[in-house]
Symmetry: D2
Subunit: 380 residues, 4 copies
Amino acid sequence: MSSFGTFFKVTTYGESHCKSVGCIVDGVPPGMDLTEADIQTQLTRRRPGQSALTTPRNERDAVQIQSGTEFGKTLGTPIAMIVNNKDQRPNDYTETDVYPRPSHADYTYLTKYGIKASSGGGRSSARETIGRVAAGAIAEKYLTLVNNVEIVAFVSSVGSIAMNRDPRSEKFQDILENITREQVDASGPIRCPDAEIAPSMVSEVEKHRDDHDSIGGVVTCVIRNMPVSLGEPAFDKLEALLAHAMLSIPATKGFEIGSGFMGTTMCGSEHNDAFFVDGDSGRFRTKTNFSGGIQGGISNGENVYFSVGFKPPATISKEQSTVSYEGKEGVLAARGRHDPNVVPRAVPIVEAMAALVIADAHLIQESRKAAAAIVTSKGF
Amino acid sequence: MSSFGTFFKVTTYGESHCKSVGCIVDGVPPGMDLTEADIQTQLTRRRPGQSALTTPRNERDAVQIQSGTEFGKTLGTPIAMIVNNKDQRPNDYTETDVYPRPSHADYTYLTKYGIKASSGGGRSSARETIGRVAAGAIAEKYLTLVNNVEIVAFVSSVGSIAMNRDPRSEKFQDILENITREQVDASGPIRCPDAEIAPSMVSEVEKHRDDHDSIGGVVTCVIRNMPVSLGEPAFDKLEALLAHAMLSIPATKGFEIGSGFMGTTMCGSEHNDAFFVDGDSGRFRTKTNFSGGIQGGISNGENVYFSVGFKPPATISKEQSTVSYEGKEGVLAARGRHDPNVVPRAVPIVEAMAALVIADAHLIQESRKAAAAIVTSKGF
Amino acid sequence: MSSFGTFFKVTTYGESHCKSVGCIVDGVPPGMDLTEADIQTQLTRRRPGQSALTTPRNERDAVQIQSGTEFGKTLGTPIAMIVNNKDQRPNDYTETDVYPRPSHADYTYLTKYGIKASSGGGRSSARETIGRVAAGAIAEKYLTLVNNVEIVAFVSSVGSIAMNRDPRSEKFQDILENITREQVDASGPIRCPDAEIAPSMVSEVEKHRDDHDSIGGVVTCVIRNMPVSLGEPAFDKLEALLAHAMLSIPATKGFEIGSGFMGTTMCGSEHNDAFFVDGDSGRFRTKTNFSGGIQGGISNGENVYFSVGFKPPATISKEQSTVSYEGKEGVLAARGRHDPNVVPRAVPIVEAMAALVIADAHLIQESRKAAAAIVTSKGF
Amino acid sequence: MSSFGTFFKVTTYGESHCKSVGCIVDGVPPGMDLTEADIQTQLTRRRPGQSALTTPRNERDAVQIQSGTEFGKTLGTPIAMIVNNKDQRPNDYTETDVYPRPSHADYTYLTKYGIKASSGGGRSSARETIGRVAAGAIAEKYLTLVNNVEIVAFVSSVGSIAMNRDPRSEKFQDILENITREQVDASGPIRCPDAEIAPSMVSEVEKHRDDHDSIGGVVTCVIRNMPVSLGEPAFDKLEALLAHAMLSIPATKGFEIGSGFMGTTMCGSEHNDAFFVDGDSGRFRTKTNFSGGIQGGISNGENVYFSVGFKPPATISKEQSTVSYEGKEGVLAARGRHDPNVVPRAVPIVEAMAALVIADAHLIQESRKAAAAIVTSKGF
């Protein structure tokens, strides 16, 4: 429902126009440095109004920690976080009082609950992701301390303008190996680090924005300095948890890990990642990484990388022939201005969900490691 | 870990060479007709040795219900099911005692647990999926009674030989609308209902089999007569649960729902599924179904359809340069015969996991519906 | 950890001196009338400073709903509730900076988390129960609509001053059958409806208060108009869930359901509750109710009643010989005034936890009922 | 439902007369020595027919491990265990086909599920506890390796024949400190280590047995060499988990931890457990242990001790006036011989459930400890 994770567990709350949105994060390790500044950075990257490519609503989204820390340290107790909503009851959405927006959650929420929030997206609004991003920022802080884990997401396609994501592409693997968040943000409003195509992506968004339409895209994410041994067979394989996490983000339509759908066209002798022993660390590594850092559902220490497909946003101001809640045919054109494309803003959300998955998997494996050390009288 | 589901919950057990494999299914509705015959059909579709395209091991995989039914009716109590393993300690895998198989779970299980099963895939073996298929068969039985729900999966690509899965393709939508399990099985050993390409798929598998290699593929699945209102925002959106379920199947690399990655290239005015009122039922329906039957994480009653990408099997008898467990470079060629391609056998596994997700989501929504009827003094 | 329940699930947060305390309640049925007034009543019954028998701190504890309702109706989405803390960093507890309070959580929190809140009880403070009481009020509202369920708790003993709780006592059964919350509150500050002993209880508390000491007691609770069939064998028997809920309340030492420990002294032919058919309703009832309304872990429709033992509060201002955090022997006398007895204030907390258990069990059984009706083509 | 635990999780299955009963235990630490012999000991202590005091049915209850171990070591994967049922469809219970047994689960199962097993107790049968005892034996094995944890339960009362359980009794505390399982079993069929009253207990059971009646009793359990810091505030306090575990055992009516209900009559200055520093270990200990080894829901390293009340068994062969399933008044006298008292056989079940709680809590705290060590760069 509204909770995610086993040990490092977030529960979010809030609709688009209620008093506040936020979350409770349970299971945060005690004694960790943590202040609101650690959380605000990603919230600020998530908020709308950052560029002409996104919705012009300007929401400051300042987070307030309610509990679970003292003198800048975590207590190990639940951390509640709140971001106040500014506009609690807007008048901006009147057409959508009459028409359920096609491909939006308006209709299904009504069938599911028999009632729906009167304005905006209600619980299905992207504002729900504020709680996720806040929780993810805490998870990231932990992972940085664990192993200097780096999680970087970026836009890899907008409409048909796409980076070459073939896992055999050297350029793609080079980006996965080296890209930083700073570079992603410096690459411009579209957050695509491939300078050759980023301008075309911007044009693509602008074209659809000016056409009162919207366009989809893909976010790719890499996790470097991955701890080994994370993920729980059989049902909670690491890629299964990541897929669950990513497909729970609004507007997502697909997920692929490592070689992904491209890998289905490869033969085993090419796709298998041969082992070698790293001279420096003595650690087992693989020459290629079509597995995307996960084998048998368990991380092997190589980079975890995956891509998430986002559909074009459903709310557009272009006219659409559809039917009203009363079942009468008519034409809907949403008032106001809406995101013509969500992928740049989805970047910190994808990073947050990835951090939640990895932090939880790490805490679970730490328990097993400790227990195995006890029963075998040795660590491993 | 080894459990999946909230209300309709399966817990599986078993490794490739232990005494038996199986599962406990908790939360099965009481009073339902159920015998072993209901379960055996899908287990038989899943077992190896069905054709020259799969592993020649012939495992009968006869299920035995241990508990939870009496006189052919479910009691509402946990249903335990067992399938005995035939070969408990084979000698067939000696090279793999020396070398962790590249892209297999051998290495990661060892790092995770500090110990691994001495032969075969252990817990990572596809035999683990027997418990899932058995549980899924019970879920399917329930869903048939709920709404005559039909779940049909089929092979949509092998290597580069692919059906046109563009959601705008009429042929593809026609297959989704009409394909039956009988047709899938009648289509030949590759289980692809597109007669134009099925023979090429067979050749593709044979080519890699004869080359001691393997090849990947894609399974597509459709769920028809879907109940409306299933799926739980925010984290347990129906597509998120399906993605979790599918990526927990061994060898999977990708998942897409509805328009999937193709949908990321579409603009909103094309992708939005306009509503209309069905003349016969008076029910809200959509003219197109790029959403794949789910909007805002909740089913809208249209067909749910999705595709799952499978990598080429990791165990091949072709020589691979890699390193031994001791870290010495060497060459591994797995003895024996192995599945050159898993997708035909994955078909009933995908169906089973889909059934588990839908049955669980249905039980959850039934609770809400009942409660809402109580508090509002009306049904909905 | 900080979550309780499966379908009707509360997650609480907050320490004694952080910014606010509160909770998120997930799974509340949609379309139900709900405003802050529905919640405030029980919070007000819980707060300190209500009489000379409790701590003189006067906390208003006004609840603010953040989400999940609109125009006084629940949306089916998570309901977040906040109560601001007044004193965020008091100076009142200086001795307790030096000494871990005996039988308090000071020492164990420090060993568990390696850090503890600097003042007051931190997370172990009774302020954590505010979130429970707020959530319980929503659960109660639902249960009232379900079956006019009545949950009434009262003080049945203070120190050695005890009501006769022998399940064979007619007076005791009469109280269970008829007592109302109004009568409990009208009975005076000790909330004991037995007018013969309530004054002695008050004296008992006053004696210990004046002696800078504290005293324990017992709260008994009855649930009337119980729906049948609630509780999930094997591990989630209704009495097991109630026991879990009650022993999670701070300062509890014991739980007994129905005949309780007294029942262990009875023989089967006396203890068995013979069935009869109620002439009016045609419903199966039992002549006696030593079972406490639960048989085989499942409610049978008779009154559920149970008692919860509370130890004397650990924080007393009487001098105690103990050791400091540094391990030095010394004498601790807590400053300020503290609750000499918690049972009157525990009354609404016990009611809240009972309501949470019953509401959750009801939602679970509604799902089964609906499913069984589907598979058997009949209700039951 | 049929699962218990978070990390160390058991799922049981089986009715009194199905093919087999058993369980799957997930989360067992890998690399631990484990064979069937480790499990059989407690199963044998649990089985009926051990003395003239219990049911004369002689069930051998030999456990068979199905999975999760190899060469006598755990693999970290789920361990399935099976005990075959001997009598699958007995004819011994014909009267109970006509009459729901008073205070038994017959009636409530029927209302809950709309169907019930045709003979015996079905799922409510004590045979369900076989899976618990098998799982508990594994948990105990782990706890022995953790800290040489000792869990010993014994009978402390039968009917009105009771040991003095006043926590201030030196004799009682001495038993808690020193009693061994060997002594408990050597004490005779009633498993009460107090030689002064054990013979009277035996007579008490014999009297009720000969009278075709039954009698209740109390089992007390102590856990020595307890690891510190186990238990999770707020809802999963260690005593709450123990209470949940114990009240999930069939026929239980009460639970008390440490001073229990007796503690409610004490004043704080007596009840508080003053700290001292243990000269040998330098460890904080308490002079008294009214807390029962748990403070603030977290273990402090002192002995955890608690008592569990069991009602007289409901199935008696004495005549009882009641009504049939059809609602007709009549007289039921159960055929066959039944346990006149369950407490001696409950001893290993109480131990098993205690072991499951402690093992799970330990695994959870190990995760936190590891995480805290990472974030603070020190252990604690």
